[in-house]
């Protein structure tokens, strides 16, 4: 049995007459963290939306655990936890209320202990948890959204600029969480501008340009990716 969790095969998406993704192919295995690096308009978010079945590809296929995202979007979404770029939760609800409400949508009824554990793991201050999110900083909101993604306990995690707005300490905590999840077998697809974070946490890093995957770097035996090499190619592609 294949351990491929995510598979893009010759994926093509056209939006507004422009090819946003053109012939993109890659796989993410269970327990693997794959980071897609790219500039604005490279097609990073479109890739995630296609895997979630929110965009229909014009060609190729996007599969999650062997199921086509285009043909079986509901089944596919039940396997995915998603962390959007600007973690937009409900401002008038507290962290507890947001988590409970969103989890109720996926028919998950969390107990207080698991909610606390999730919020502890993202280091959200205890005194803030009962306050409405409108009093939160961007980073604190992001932590709540990360906690939500963790609580879903899905085999696939899609992350859109996950460390945006987080302070360095929280970024470190987040990377630890991702590594832990990967060890538990969760497949993680992360799109980001954060070259250093991507190289630090990902098993493989792909460079995306104009909807095409131009290069993929793999971690060496000690699990690290040469940042300088990735950076040079990334900047080269940006300049091109």
């Amino acid at each position: 049995m294949s351990n491929c969790a995510l598979r893009a095969s010759d994926l093509e998406v056209i939006r507004g007459g422009n090819a946003v993704l053109s012939g993109m192919s890659f796989e993410v295995k269970q327990g693997e963290v794959f980071a897609l690096l790219g500039g604005n308009g490279a097609g990073k978010s479109t890739t995630l939306l296609t895997f979630m079945g929110l965009l229909q590809p014009n060609g190729g296929i996007a599969e999650v655990l062997g199921q086509s995202a285009a043909k079986e979007p509901v089944a596919v979404r039940n396997q995915i936890a998603y962390l959007p770029e600007n973690a937009a939760l409900y401002d008038h609800l507290t962290a507890w209320e947001n988590l409970t409400y969103f989890l109720s949508l996926s028919q998950v009824r969390p107990d207080q202990a698991s909610l606390s554990a999730a919020l502890d793991s993202v280091s959200l201050p205890i005194q803030s948890r009962g306050k409405p999110l409108k009093s939160y900083s961007k980073g604190m909101r992001q932590k709540v959204a990360i906690a939500l993604a963790l609580l879903r306990e899905t085999p696939v995690l899609l992350l859109d600029e996950p460390t945006s707005g987080l302070d360095p300490s929280a970024v470190e905590d987040f990377h630890n969480i991702i590594e832990r999840l990967a060890k538990q077998g969760v497949a993680v697809l992360m799109v980001t501008h954060d070259l250093y974070g991507a190289c630090h946490v990902a098993h493989r890093v792909g460079i995306l340009r104009a909807g095409q995957l131009v290069e993929v770097f793999e971690a060496d035996e000690d699990g690290s990716i040469e940042i300088a090499t990735v950076r040079d190619l990334f900047l080269q592609q940006q300049a091109a």
Partner: protein, 424 residues
């Protein structure tokens, strides 16, 4: 995982949505005020009826004690006739404040008495009296628009839509509880005051169910319409609001106004005042006509009195009452024409109810409350029957020229209107 947890979460979410809660509270208050005003109106009507019956009786007794002939006694004797409010009148006052519902009838020509106050024609009811039916027809759709117009757009504009869709087990788990709770919130806000009013009025269970069903249908129509607009993926919240309000303007204002213009143009009829005018002119003209002309016309329709003694005097009460009756008969065709025109307009209005929910629900409530044209015409018929009963009670003493005595006058029994009309 049971659905009740999901519903509880959505209920909690609703309780935290201050804008939605605020507008539901506003609807509750407006509905309550309309019910309270309606109950006050009905109570005032009932009090008026009670007072009128009592004062009429006192006045008739007093006038009879002063009478010295039967004609004069009949002339001075007013009899109350009323169209009592039903247990649902408070919710749909309809045409009660426009058409006569409380009258004082005497043995003179009836058409003038009915049409002394011209009634409006039953064209489409535009924004008129502030009653519960008005709230249901005009304000309920606005509340539904406010509650649902940005259902999708607010999530998209708030950046939550993708997260919600991906997190939800399926789309129905996301939207259905939210729509249902808000929908039932709207229903309870508008219906609870109505139920209280109906219980206070001891309305029948069937009426309560019918009235509630009419509101549910109105709410379903508008919710479906607003959701059809609000779930357009390309509509921003302001676009959705503008299109929804536009639909409200068309369906609750433009169509009824256009309908009114169309109906007035298609059914050009006489006015009630013209009926009264024809009858009055006939009565006035009779003074200058030979008495035999009037009496022959009267005896043609009342042959049972044709053997009454000829009139040789300058003045006689039986001649006076005969020309009152002949005046009515001369105006009868016109009265029928007027009635036919009103019914024709009403039928055309019914057609407009198919394309305007506002017209439909107002008509539905007026029908349930018996405040519609049918009820108004039925009351007119009861008044005409009562009038006939009154004049025929006096005819024997007038046309047989029975010598006057207070004892004989006291024997002329005239039923109470409630008895004549079969009221409780």
């Amino acid at each position: 995982m049971n659905q009740s947890f999901r519903m509880r979460q959505e209920f909690h979410f609703l309780l935290k949505s201050k804008a939605v809660l605020g507008v539901l509270l506003l609807l509750f208050v407006i509905s309550g005020v309309s019910v309270a005003l309606g109950l006050n109106y009905v109570e005032a009507e009932r009090q008026q009826i009670t007072e009128l019956i009592q004062l009429d009786t006192e006045e008739r007794t007093h006038k009879r004690s002063l009478a010295y002939d039967y004609g004069g006694a009949a002339y001075d004797a007013f009899h109350a006739a009323w169209n009592p409010p039903t247990p649902l009148t408070f919710a749909a006052i309809g045409q009660r404040d426009l058409n006569p519902t409380l009258m004082r009838i005497r043995a003179l020509a009836i058409e003038g008495q009915i049409y002394e106050t011209d009634s409006v024609n039953p064209e489409l009811a535009l924004a008129g009296r502030f009653d519960f039916a008005f709230v249901a027809a005009y304000l309920l759709p606005l509340v539904i628009i406010f509650v649902f117009y940005d259902l999708l757009a607010s999530e998209r504009e708030g950046g939550r839509l993708n997260l919600l869709v991906v997190t939800a087990e399926r789309a129905s788990a996301l939207w259905l509880p939210r729509i249902l709770l808000r929908f039932f919130g709207i229903l309870i806000s508008i219906l609870f005051p109505l139920w209280v009013g109906m219980l206070m009025e001891s309305a029948a269970v069937g009426s309560m169910l019918s009235a509630s069903f009419a509101i549910v249908v109105q709410a379903v129509i508008w919710t479906a319409l607003v959701l059809a607009i609000a779930t357009r993926p390309t509509f921003r919240s302001e676009t959705s609001a503008a299109v929804s309000v536009g639909a409200w303007v068309v369906l609750t204002l433009a169509i009824p106004i256009a309908g009114k213009v169309y109906i007035e143009g298609s059914v050009t009829g006489i006015k009630g005042a013209e009926v009264a005018l024809v009858q009055r002119e006939a009565v006035n003209d009779a003074w200058d006509l030979p008495k035999s002309t009037t009496m022959d016309a009267f005896y043609a329709s009342h042959p049972e009195w044709s053997d009454s003694a000829p009139i040789n005097e300058e003045w006689h009460w039986k001649w006076y009452y005969a020309f009152q009756q002949v005046g009515d008969e001369l105006a009868a065709d016109l009265a029928q024409e007027y009635r036919a025109a009103m019914l024709a307009r009403d039928q055309l209005t019914a057609r407009f109810a198919f394309i305007s929910p506002a017209v439909a629900i107002q008509r539905q409530f007026e029908a349930l409350a018996h405040t519609n044209l049918d009820a108004s015409l039925a009351f007119e018929d009861q008044v005409r029957e009562y009038h006939e009963h009154i004049r025929r009670a006096y005819y024997p003493v007038l046309f047989r020229e029975v010598p006057f005595s207070s004892e004989r006058l006291a024997q002329i029994e005239i039923a109470d209107f409630s008895e004549s009309a079969g009221l409780d």
